[in-house]
Structures are given as C-alpha cells and as structure tokens.
C-alpha cells in the first residue's frame, strides 16, 4: 500500500496505478504543497466539480478525479436512444477536455474512504490523500426491493437505469417485439434518479411500437406510487398519441407488486399474473456503495448535506453532490447534480484558497419527450431556507399547450444537452 503524491500523478495518468511502485511521502511534506481535492465519480456532479475547481483556482488547487470508466454514457437522454431519436454514440463522452482543463483523471475504482487519514483507497490498495473530498457516486439499485429481481435477473428483465449495456439490452428487446406483445414496466418508489424518466421511457416504448404499426401491443406500468412527475401532461400526451396503448396502475389498482420470475418471465401483482414479452424493472435506489460504506448515508440510504454548501453533515472534509445526496426539494437529475457541483466547488475553493464565497444558488429543469416534437418540462429555482434546500418559482408544462411550444421545448432540450455535456466534460 502506497500513497500517491502530486509529483507522481503526472506520470501515472493513463497508467495502471497498482502496477507502479510508488514512494510514501510523509504527511508534513504533503502539507507543504498545494491543497488537494479528490473527486470520486466522473458523472454530471463529479466531473463538473472537478472541472470548475481546477478552472477557477487556476492551478492553486491540485484536483484529482477518480473514475473507473474511460468514457461516460449519460443516463439523461438515454430514453431518446430508446425511442430511436439519438444513437448510442451521441450519449458517450470522454475525459480528454477534463484532463486538458487541469484535472488529473485516474481511471481506477475507488474502493473505500479512510476518513480518519483523509485518504481514498483505490482498487489495488493505492491511497490518494485529500484535503477536501467530493463524493459523487450516483445511485446503486436495490435489486431485492422487487421480490425475485436480482443483478442476474436484470440480464433478462433489464432495468436500464444505469447507462451502458443495460440500456442497449433494453433497446434490443424492444426492437424484437412483435405486434400484440405486451410490455410491463415496474416503476420505482420515491426517491429515485430522474423522476419523469420512467414515464418518458414508456412514451418512447409507445412511439417505437406505433412507428412499427403495432396496434395490438399494450404497455402496463405497475407503480408503487399514487402519483408521478408531470402526470397530467404525460397522461394527456399518451391519450393523444397512443390511445388505449398505455395503462398506468397505482397501488389501488394493482393491489401490490408481488414480484418477478426471471425464469418464467412472469410478473405478479396482488390481482393479476402477467407474462409479458418485455419486462423493465426499475427497482428502489440508494446512494452508491462507497458513500454507504464510508458512513456518509443516513437511514434513508442517501447522504445528508448542508443546504448552503453541499457539505456532508457527517464529515466537514467531505462534500456529496448529485443523486447520492439528500438535496431537499431538488430532484435527482443531471441538471441538479451539475448545479450542486458548482456550489460545492465554490465553497471548496473558498475554504482552501480563501477565495470569495457566495450564497448557494441551485436550479433544475427536466425535459421529457412524449412523441416527436411533443416535449414537456418541469423546473424550479432552489435555495437554502432554514437548513433545507427549498424550491421557488416552480413551473411545469400545462395541458393544451400549442404544438409550436412543445416543438420549441424539444429543440431547447437538445440544445440543453449540448450545453450541459460541454459544461460537465468540457
């Protein structure tokens, strides 16, 4: 086990860390150098924070981003890939510009956090010391929240709630359906990543079926919730574009989701047994493993934070942003994560370099596509109020909006995707 020093990071970029013999540098000599920020997770929260700290500190802070994957495929907009509006490649981004922006990117898995020694331990045992740590691991799925479901079962009944092979598997299964086949989606309980996501996905399922002329196919949503995001405008859109195709069941209708059987392909509720051709199970979620293992979560499974800074309420040297955090009234979205990361980056810089601190400002907008050129949105501003992040000026698309406005929303969402991915990945 060895410590990584700033001196050696340059050499190690792109190399296998565990394969290198690294010297141990004593704590005093580390303390004499630049302050060190380590970021775990290269998604919308982590990559944004790393880039902004490096960019705004102009070299005064040593920033290291730890992310096992060499490319990142966004979960946001993956529904548009499901619907055939985008190709998979367009959702995939690399870290070249993050590196050019002064961030040391280490493609390794962070396996644990030693909070006492202020070190992140990587796969292979290499230790990375930090003065401030930003944790942005996203969510993990609680497979056993749906009886019979498991990581193995997901190979047959994809969740596709983490980007990558699962999304591609879902699309493969969707495209193989025949007219008359049934799709069942098990929607997740609150709180979960991307509140409108399951319902946009169902819209994309229906669009694909409609485009193929599958007039006899049906989609059933089994929802553990009594209501869902943008429900009024989603329902209106489904009636308009896909009449009779989508059936949403709340717990009063299905009576309880009893479980799935990956071997037989069955889905059981209190009232009915389904044997659909495609099952999409989106289970309950909690913060990524490394945050849970480090004791940064509470009984909710997510990480409590200070509303004015995104600092963990458990450890003053650690910040948590994105889906893993309990961000009050902010939804778990890439937009939220990106927004939270900028606040955390500003506070971290202020703490380490005495740069100016400003009041936290957060914002979020989520766009959802129902059908070609029919896009709806929901959003709000957020600020810390009495210790919690509260929404203000909330808005949501309304029923009976003009086709022009909905088309404008779609164009806006595409421009937003280009903007935010450039903001995250450079």
């Amino acid at each position: 086990m060895t410590n990584i020093t700033r001196r050696h990071f340059g050499i190690m970029a792109g190399a296998s860390l565990s394969a290198l013999g690294l010297p141990v540098l004593s704590a005093p000599s580390l303390a004499q150098g630049k302050p060190r920020v380590v970021v775990i997770g290269g998604g919308p929260g982590g990559a944004t924070a790393a880039r902004y700290i490096a960019m705004e500190s102009k070299g005064a802070i040593d920033v290291t981003l730890i992310e096992p994957q060499k490319t990142f495929t966004t979960c946001f907009f993956s529904n548009l890939y499901v619907g055939g509006f985008r190709d998979y490649k367009s959702l995939t981004h690399n870290y070249d510009k993050v590196k050019k922006g002064g961030v040391k990117v280490v493609h390794s898995l962070a396996t644990s956090i030693d909070r006492d020694k202020k070190q992140v331990v990587l796969a292979g045992g290499v230790k990375v010391p930090y003065d401030r740590l930003l944790v942005a691991p996203g969510i993990d799925l609680k497979f056993d929240s749906v009886p019979g479901y498991s990581e193995k079962a997901a190979e047959v009944m994809p969740h596709a709630w983490k980007p990558g092979a699962q999304t591609q598997l879902l699309v493969k299964k969707l495209n193989a359906l025949k007219d008359g086949d049934q799709i069942v989606m098990i929607a997740p309980p609150n709180p979960y990543r991307c509140p409108p996501g399951p319902y946009e996905r169902v819209s994309m399922f229906a669009h694909v079926l409609k485009k193929k002329g599958h007039t006899k196919s049906r989609i059933v949503i089994l929802d553990p919730k009594p209501a869902f995001s943008k429900q009024g405008v989603f329902t209106e859109g489904w009636e308009k574009h896909y009449p009779g195709m989508i059936e949403w069941q709340d717990p009063k209708i299905h009576g309880g989701i009893k479980g799935v059987d990956a071997k037989t392909g069955e889905v059981k509720t209190d009232f009915t047994n389904y044997k659909p051709a495609l099952v999409n199970v989106i289970p309950a979620q909690h913060a990524g493993k490394i945050a849970r293992d480090a004791g940064l979560t509470n009984q909710t499974g997510y990480c409590p934070i200070d509303a004015a800074s995104m600092k963990s309420t458990v450890d003053p040297n650690i910040f948590v942003v994105g889906d893993a955090s309990i961000a009050g009234e902010m939804p778990k979205s890439a937009f939220s994560a990106n927004s939270q990361a900028k606040v955390a980056a500003m506070v971290i810089r202020a703490e380490l370099t005495q740069s100016r601190a400003f009041p936290a400002r957060y914002s979020n907008t989520c766009w959802s596509l129902i059908a070609p050129d029919d896009d709806i949105k929901v959003g709000a501003s957020y600020e810390p109020v009495d210790g919690a992040i509260k929404a203000s000026n909330a808005f949501v698309s309304q029923r009976n909006e003009s086709a022009d406005l909905r088309k404008q929303n779609y164009k806006e969402s595409v421009d937003w995707y280009n903007g935010i991915t450039a903001d995250i990945f450079g």
Binding site: N338, R356, G379, D415, A422
Partner: protein
Amino acid sequence: MRRAMPARISAALLLAMGGGAALCLLAPSAQGADAELGRYLSSECTTCHGASKSDSTIPIIHGLGEVHFVEVIKAYRDKALPNPVMQNIAARLGDEEIAALAAYFATAKKPK
C-alpha cells in the same frame, strides 16, 4: 454598489438610444460591476448556454452587449418574455446581479 446602479442603467439606456456620450458614462460603471459575482453567477447560465450556436434555440450570450443583456433579463424577470426556464432564472436576480452578469458576459468568451 446598489447606489451606483441608477447611473449604470441610465448609461446603458443612453447607449441603447445611440447617444455617443453614453460611452464615456458606461466605462466607469462597467468597472464598478462585481466581476467575481458575475463570474460565479454565470456558471448557472453556462449549463445551458455554453455550447450554443448561432441557430440554437438557446442563444449565444457570451459577448452579448451589456445593455441588451440587462434589458432581456429584466424582461424575463417581469415575465414580458415567455420562456418559464428563463423567467425562473431571472426571478431571483437583483439589479446588481444582473449588472454583474451583463458585465461578465459582455467580454466573456464561449468555452471551447
């Protein structure tokens, strides 16, 4: 800062009207804008505007004239312009913050 605002706005309006004298007035007021505040607040804008092109629905705001910037943001704040995303962003911006943002974006280069 707040007391300096009327001078800034009147200078901006003069410039909008084509008054040459406004150029002289604008320079000192631009120097008075809180550059650090503008840069911090701009990060909220960059989320959506950072990769805009000339034909984007989300317009390019890097390099936008200060006067025009202030007018547009205030119009969103007053809900005289329709987009709820921008109305939402503008709703919590004070005059000083709008001025700081305008001064920042007037000279800011779009991220590469």
